[in-house]
Structures are given as C-alpha cells and as structure tokens.
Amino acid sequence: MSNVTEIRWHGRGGQGAKTAALLLADVAFQTGRYVQGFPEYGPERMGAPITAYNRISDMPIRVHSNIYDPQYVVVVDESLLETVDVTAGLKKDGAILINTARPKEEIVPRLKGYEGKVYTIDARRVSMATLGKYFPNTPLLAAIVKVAGIMEEERFLTEMKFSFSHKFASKPEVIDGNMAALKMALQEVR
C-alpha cells in the first residue's frame, strides 16, 4: 500500500485532464508498473470542473475508490483555485503542480495554507511555442512526471516518442511539436 503514488487532476471539461491521466497511466505502465487512470464523471459539458486520478504502484492495485489523500495534485486550470478545494487531503510531503503564467509567490497565498511543495508551469506558453495551439495536457504530463519522479527523463521521452508515433500515426507532423512541448516543459517546471 505504502508504495502507491496517488495523483489527482483538477481541470475543466475539454482541457484534456482525463487524457493526461490516461497518458500518465500509459507511460508509467511502460516502466513495468501497475497503474490506474480514471476520470470522475460529473456534468458532461465543456468547462465544467472535472477530476481525474492516477495510481501508480509496484504491486497490483485493487482499490477502486477515488483518491482523497493524494501525494500530488495537478491543477490544469488556474481558475479552479477559487472554486474547487484542490489541496483537500493533499499530503504535506507531496506537492501541487499548477498551470499558470503567474509567479509562484502569487499562487501560494491562494492555496489555503498548503504547506507542501508548490510547482508551477506556464503550459500555455509551452504549448503555443511548440504546438501553436493551447493543449495544456502535454506540458503538464511532462511536468508531473518530473515533479513526482515517475521515471527518468530520457526514458520518459523515449516512451512518449513511441506512444506519439502510434497515437498520431495519421498525422506525423504533430509528433515533433509534442516532443518539443514535453522537453520544454521538463525545463520550465519550477
């Protein structure tokens, strides 16, 4: 039980939080670990707050509940900081990763006194620079892999290249952009 890494994603419908959770499960699976990636379905519409979850473990995972005391939280949309209790149950020795263009000093006071580590990344800037469009989940995936130490960066990039070449088999032109987004995000998260 104790070796399970639990991650909770907060996003809005249409932003790809569910896809990011499934991608994270995918990439962790490639390292031979046991994984879970699942969304919590609420109102099925664009913009509504949604939650997705990951468990990553060296042992088979049997529990099928949502995650209440995560080690890591990823906030895909900064505007959720005011409307959703994103740090609920978040472990003090864990960390929260927030997608924002603001400096960390402006974000920390909005976290209701959370005492653990706070990481930020400007996924919009990364995505616009590498993909020309706003897809926050690719940069956030790289950022959480780094923050949570899911796997070594080189291995991660190799696995993702393999994964993208399958996923985007019909439009290979986007593979390079996505790979660039991952690499830039690994540098930008702080």
Binding site: M1, L22, A25, D26, F29, Y34, V35, Q36, G37, F38, P39, Y41, E44, P60, I61, R62, V63, H64, S65, N66, Y68
Partner: protein, 393 residues
C-alpha cells in the same frame, strides 16, 4: 503466452469480442457501455472481424435482432447499460425461454430516476429473474476473462441459456488498469465454433422457434428451462478449469478472500470487492479475523456453496448495490440470508445498501462495516438488519 496491456474495462471486453469474432452484433449506444460497440465497429471497419454489425434504432431492436440471429444459427451478442437493459425487458425473457445462448456485455449503471449515469447494479438486479446466467467482475481482467468464457458456458449442451457478463460502469469500464490478454489463437481455440443442433437457416430441417404454449404446457416448459440453469454451476467450474490451463488465472463460482479463519465476513459483488480486499489486509495486520465472499456467478445463485463458505463466521454483512424496496434490503441480501437459513446457520446477518448512483466506496467505508460486525458479535444481536452505508442523514 499472453500479453501485458493497460486497458479500460470496455476496451478489454471489446478485445475479447474481437478475439471471439462472433457472427452478429446488433448494437444501440448508451453510456457507459457505448465504447464496446464503438471499439468493435472499428474492428469491423478494419476487417479484423467478419461479424455482421447492425446499428439498430433501439435496445428493444438490438436484443430482438440478437435473438433472431441466434435462432437462425449465428453466435450473437449485444451490449448495453441501465435503461437500455430495461428496454430489452420483454426480449430478455424470450431469449432465455427459447434457450438461445447469446451473450450480453452489460456495463452496470443506475436506473432512472433521478437520472444518473454512474454505477450501481439496479439494472442487472432487476433482470436477475429473467432466466439469464449472470456473471460479475471486480476489474477489467475479470470482465475480459468472463467474456472469453461466456459462450463456452452458455452454449454448453446441458445449459443453452443466454449469459450476461457484467462490469461496473465507469469504475472499471472507463478506468485504465493493467491487464493480461490471451493470444488471439488461444481465445479462438478455447471458444471454438458454434454448432447448434437445430437452427432456422438449416434447409434440411425447418423448425418452429418460440411456439405458443397453452396452460397445459407452460408450467412444464418453465421447469424444463430451470433444468438448464441447474447445470450451470458445474459447467462454470469445468470451463474455469480449462480456462486456467490456458490463462493461468483461476476462477470459481465466487472468490473467498481470507475466509479460512474469518469470524466476520462481507458478501459483495463487483469493483468494491477490490477495495474491500485492501480493508481486509489492513485489518488483518491488526490481527482482526475478517474475510470476504465476492460473487462471480449470481444467477444461478450458488446458495449451498456460499452458505458453506460462511459456515464458520459469527457475523456477515451482505452488500447490495441496488435498492430492493422490500423494506428489508436488496436481492443479494435476500439470497444469502435464505441460503444461511436453509443451512441452519447461526451467523448474525445484516444487509447494507451501498454505492447507489456511483457513490464512491472507500477502504474506510468497508473498515467501518467490519467494525459494525464486531459490535454485532459483541452484542450478540444483529440490530437493524436493513442498513445504508455512507448515507448522509
């Protein structure tokens, strides 16, 4: 042998169906089962199966078309959830009484109302007396494995009954988890060809399917149908044994988890069984003698075997993920308590309604149930036997 993968429960079942390559798949979409025909339609489009895929206009029609195809001599199936199953009601009984061994991939979802898309077992529990074999899964692996075994059970000459392969909506259907798949060739060999003795498309021997039966015949016809059901448990065990030889994964009528010396037990169906296992392991670390029976085969109900497995417990909590509106609990509760009564059990039994409409089940919820069972033992009194787990009140 086998291939390690990570898949959602829906994709796992769809892959099992691709490997089985059934003859006819009529389908109408409904959340959360929609992905099964959706994945399957892509296999059809890619030429990976030669199944006749029929997009119909309702679940009434999907089940009707599956029945017609099966009677014609084809291996047929469909998939649905919730209100879709309710709309098949009439046909469920037709499929069973005509002894047509078709399959239904059911992704459990609450029935309206209030309207809700999330998991509980009210859909399949309502259909429990329709004459279908019902099997339930804890996770994607079990949903896949049950689907692979389904036709071997349903089509067995001693059985010939339709089979419902159930898994929990969203909780397993939409969760990506590790899974081990069998090789395509192994599934093909294991499932084999469907060779019905009598079928409508046989010009050598025309047949009448589903003739009217007057009062002089109806009762005997239903008794004859019940005989097929009586053969199911042995066939399930025989098929499971063969499946274990191919897959290395063993199945029974139910799973008894840490029951050997348990004085408290939970009887449960579906994904919450995995959560209960974590609760059991945590309590066992503290020296508490707790265990669980997870139902795999619910219809027919292996009453004697379950009563036997509960033979030594002092208190048992039976968990129903569907309300029965009996004023004293749900259908699993009634089945298990009847089994205990017939076995002259002295166990104190309570029935919990839980998890309706997708209400989350946590390890701490199950730990609380075991704590309540300890109180029951200490008081030597079951107290209220009709309980609700985690209800706000």
């Amino acid at each position: 042998m086998g291939k390690r993968e990570r898949l959602s429960g829906n994709e796992a079942v769809a892959i099992a169906l691709r490997q089985i390559n059934p003859d006819v798949f009529p389908a109408f979409p409904i959340t959360p089962s929609t992905e099964i025909p959706q994945y399957f339609a892509s296999y059809v489009a890619n030429g990976q199966v030669d199944t006749e895929f029929i997009p119909v206009e309702s679940e009434h029609s999907s089940m009707s078309a599956a029945i017609g195809a099966e009677a014609a001599g084809a291996r047929a199936l469909t998939a649905t959830s919730s209100c879709g199953l309710a709309f098949m009601w009439e046909e469920l009984y037709i499929a069973a009484s005509n002894r047509l061994p078709l399959a239904l991939a059911l992704v459990n979802r609450a029935l309206s109302g209030p309207i809700n898309i999330n998991c509980d077992h009210s859909d399949s529990m309502g259909a429990r007396d329709a004459g279908w074999i019902q099997m339930y899964a804890e996770n994607n692996q079990e949903a896949y494995d049950n689907m692979v075994q389904a036709y071997r059970i349903a089509e067995h000459k001693d059985v010939r009954l339709p089979i419902m392969i159930c898994q929990d909506g969203f909780i397993t259907s939409h969760a990506v988890e590790n899974i081990e798949l069998l090789d395509d060739a192994d599934v093909k060999n294991f499932v084999g060809e469907y060779e019905p003795e009598t079928y409508l498309l046989n010009p050598e021997c025309p047949a009448a399917v589903g003739p009217y039966s007057i009062t002089d015949y109806y009762f005997e016809a239903k008794r004859n149908q019940a005989e097929g059901m009586r053969h199911v448990p042995q066939v399930v065990l025989d098929v499971a044994k063969e499946f274990a030889a191919v897959s290395g994964r063993e199945y029974g009528l139910f799973e008894a988890y840490r029951m050997d010396d348990a004085d408290r037990a939970v009887v449960i169906i579906g994904s919450a069984a995995g959560t209960t296992k974590d609760a059991i392991d945590a309590l066992r670390e503290k020296g508490e003698k707790v265990g669980m029976i997870k139902i795999r085969l619910y219809r027919p109900f292996p009453a004697d075997e379950i009563a036997g497995a509960l033979g030594k417990v002092k208190a048992v909590a039976i968990m129903d993920r569907a309300e029965g509106y009996t004023n004293h609990g749900g259908s699993l509760g009634a089945d298990v308590m009847a089994a205990l009564f017939r076995a002259r059990s002295q166990a104190l039994a309570v029935n919990y309604i839980y998890g309706l409409g997708g209400r989350d089940v946590r390890v701490t919820d199950m730990e609380h149930v075991y704590a309540e069972l300890q109180k029951i033992i200490d008081n030597d009194d079951a107290g209220e036997t009709y309980r609700f787990m985690g209800i706000r009140e």
